[in-house]
Symmetry: C2
Amino acid sequence: METKQLLVKSVLDAWNSRVEAANKLIDSLSDEDLQNEVAPGKNRGLYLLGHLAIVHDKMLPLLNFEAQQYAHLEDAFLNKPDKAVVDIPSIKEILNIWNTVNSKLAAHYASLSADEWFEKHSSVSTEDFVKEPHRNRLNVVIGRTNHMQYHVGQIALLKNKY
Amino acid sequence: METKQLLVKSVLDAWNSRVEAANKLIDSLSDEDLQNEVAPGKNRGLYLLGHLAIVHDKMLPLLNFEAQQYAHLEDAFLNKPDKAVVDIPSIKEILNIWNTVNSKLAAHYASLSADEWFEKHSSVSTEDFVKEPHRNRLNVVIGRTNHMQYHVGQIALLKNKY
């Protein structure tokens, strides 16, 4: 296997395995668990899950895949803190959005050639990309995997809470 | 810049920026904060910090850089849960270990050529590496960055605790 392909595989394997681990964690939690704050006075599980879903939704246009679908939920889960927006989707709906967005990403990931991963993402200009070629699609996935892990570690605190 | 170098840069930049962010977080926390559990009944901040330090220490032999230095602390921070080992280093000592280990890793990272990142790590056999060439040094850094993020997200809950 060519080095380029190897690297793409490492990055995508890491993303896929972390999404899988997140889903296993979520499956082990009840709706009630997800209603709880991960620590006293901190974000609720459902907010963090909604936050991850919206950040992943925004990856669709960022990676030049397709339009974002849930922009109307950015206030609830991204721009404003937990509980600032009262009218938010149910946990069932949030989980549905999370799964929908991750499935879309997985399908697009699988369709890209190794070379296409080294093309620029949509928030860097063609001019800047010449000077900063590391600002490519694969770099977005590396950063977003790290972001996911940060919050999944917090959601994990809802397990066996006492 | 060659694709291989670009990718190595992306992975190392992600590691370095996450270590930097972790240090900024740690600087913002008092020793008292780090004595607290990140959530009721969960690991203390100092345990998670010790855990990360020991996992990073173990990367030194895993990446074929040098011998591990703090194997004697594996029981306290890796093999056993928080509070199972009573005699553990002070927070000041843990921070010192964390910084020492990360400095060593940074120096080794900087000395490696792009090609050397694609060599096998020490826990995969030469035979298996032929079949699974993605099990290289760079892949270890991708995985350990994700691991760090998982626990840093938890330590971050100690900020402005009330």
